[in-house]
């Protein structure tokens, strides 16, 4: 413990005034207030947009590619967070991801459709397939959704392996994006659209109902709202977003294979949200960025990375309940000063 704490001084943390924290008209009173509110919102966006350019100009192709993966994983984490808000704990985000990537790759490879068609069709097909496959579980509460979403991707991998459907273990080849800029800025633009769009959506009346379902679905039923139908809508949007991430990844890696259904894509979004903090999508983005960068830095450990994600996830779920982002947010809105101990 630092000396001044035990001596005559102690630290005191005070919340900033509500005017300072509100993004309302009060913020316009001074540049300081406006910067206080705008910097944490604008800075990440600027960094995200600038990184591919900077890395490509610096000639660092490897890390430039990591940026694309980071954006795709951020989209995945947000789709998981969306499902969680409506009370659906998915342990198989890889299912939607894999469905989207397989549809896009097979359209591209077998029918030779261009990328501009395969991405939207893959997204919608992934959303429809994902929703239909999980339709039954939506009537049930609790653990069923987690169990079934865990089982489906694992089962599908084994079924594809055994029957040699869609190229079996070989996978399906897919065309690449014309150049790096297209994929990088498409992924980052999609990330930003998803982020701001979903935040807006969840603050609308529709999002209010969706979040209420996650907290108390009986109360929502009692209010005369069809819970199952609302859950179908949420699931459709979330699986569409994850399938879109899958189509991007397919055309980025020029390949759709069994690894797209793998546990990595199912665990990573969960770990991201648990580590970053859930509820406002920013935590999901923070968590997934940290995890993706950590993975690249720990490349040497290779196969251990899933174990590392899981262990971190368990640690955060047990010890740091709220996650990193809510902690940072809370600290940002406080200031510290030293007070004399009487």
């Amino acid at each position: 413990m630092p000396k001044e704490d035990t001596g005559q001084f102690r630290r005191e943390r005070i919340d900033r005034g509500i005017y300072a924290r509100s993004s309302d008209i009060f913020a316009l009173s001074s540049w300081r207030e406006m910067n206080y509110l705008l910097l944490p919102r604008i800075l990440p966006v600027v960094i995200l947009l600038a990184m591919p350019l900077a890395l490509e100009l610096a000639g660092n192709e490897y890390w430039a590619k990591v940026m694309v993966i980071l954006a795709i994983m951020g989209i995945m984490a947000m789709s998981w967070d969306l499902l969680r808000m409506a009370g659906m704990f998915s342990l198989g985000q890889g299912l939607f991801f894999g469905l989207g990537s397989y549809v896009a790759a097979s359209l591209n490879h077998y029918l030779e459709w261009p990328i501009i068609l395969t991405i939207p069709i893959g997204t919608i097909a992934g959303a429809i397939l994902g929703t239909v496959l999980l339709l039954g579980t939506l009537k049930l509460r609790g653990i069923y959704f987690a169990m079934v979403t865990l089982a489906f991707p694992l089962l599908l991998v084994r079924a594809i392996q055994a029957t040699n459907f869609m190229g079996g273990t070989e996978g399906v080849k897919a065309a690449a994006f014309p150049d790096y800029w297209t994929i990088a800025y498409l992924a980052i633009a999609a990330l930003l659209v998803c982020f701001f769009g979903l935040r807006r959506l969840m603050n609308s009346d529709w999002g209010l109902v969706a979040r209420a379902i996650g907290q108390d679905d009986i109360a929502v039923t009692a209010s005369g709202i069809d819970v199952t139908w609302r859950k179908i809508q949420v699931l459709f949007i979330a699986s569409g977003i994850a399938a879109f991430a899958g189509t991007l990844m397919t055309h980025f890696l020029m390949y759709a294979g069994l690894s797209n259904f793998s546990l990595e894509y199912s665990i990573l979004p969960v770990a991201s949200v648990v580590i970053g903090g859930s509820g406002n999508f920013a935590g999901a983005l923070l968590g997934s960025s940290l995890l993706t960068l950590a993975t690249e830095a720990l490349r040497a450990l290779g196969a251990l990375r899933i174990a590392i994600y899981s262990l971190l996830m368990v640690f955060f779920a047990l010890m740091v309940r709220e996650g990193i982002f809510p902690y940072l947010e809370r600290r940002y809105h406080q200031f510290e000063r030293k007070v004399k101990v009487d």
Binding site: L133, K139, I143, A162, T163, V270, S310, V314
Partner: protein, 289 residues
Amino acid sequence: MLGVLLFGLTNSMGLALAALGFSFVFGISGIANFAYGAFYLLGGFITYILLNSAGFPHWVSAVISMVTIFFLGTLMYKVAIQRIRGAMLSEVIVTMGLGVTIIEILRWSGYVRHNQYLPSFVPGSITIGGLGIEYQRLIIVGIGAILFLLLWLLTRYTKIGLALRAMSQDELTALSLGINNDRIAMLAMGIGSLLAVVAALAIIPLGLLNIEGAYEILIFALAVGVLGGLGSTTGIIVGAFVLGYTQSIASTVLGPKWMMVVTFLAIVLVLLIKPSGIFGKQKELEERV
């Protein structure tokens, strides 16, 4: 025809064994133990090490690994799950995370290779009606029958068993009658983990000891649970027989490669028609919105 009947029977009992431990824990404490596959693999692996590196007899290594995993299960409950009991998302994250960690560390360590197998309890096979059946398959049926009988006796005629049933029916009332719910849930977790090792000792000798087996057992446990209705023993038996015979018929008629496809389709169909499973009637009232 006889082949389908016999293999269907042994297959079904294997599935019932695979699902028993998972369903037992879920039925009593409401915790979905996603570390089940890891305990299965770890139990098989410990037995293998004790047999081949330490040179213990088969039954000694089996008992040691069962006891080890029993304590590992209770330890997991005591250290991790007890702190977050009741928060469903955290329970799922913790059991799943720990399970995946154990499995992936075993994969990374390279100790589990592709040429390892566990010996059968009784080697050799018997010919019934012109069909060769390994003794191990018959032993699976025997173990399954004995286990279900034992669990039935345990939950009906012992004090602990009554406490277990009380917990599964209404935890709060059980608590108010002086049953220590944490101790009982810990015990249930221990027994469930031990049952995973029993499944490993019975099923692994038919194939190989490999990493994918851990995920496969979890899939089958989930599939049987979803089909039959979670938490009810009748549901487990019925679910296992439905799935077991469907798989056997599919693999004789269409070929063995369709087994997983059929399992997948079976889950999708049952979920669409009767979401809570064939015998999930009681749960349907509780679990439905």
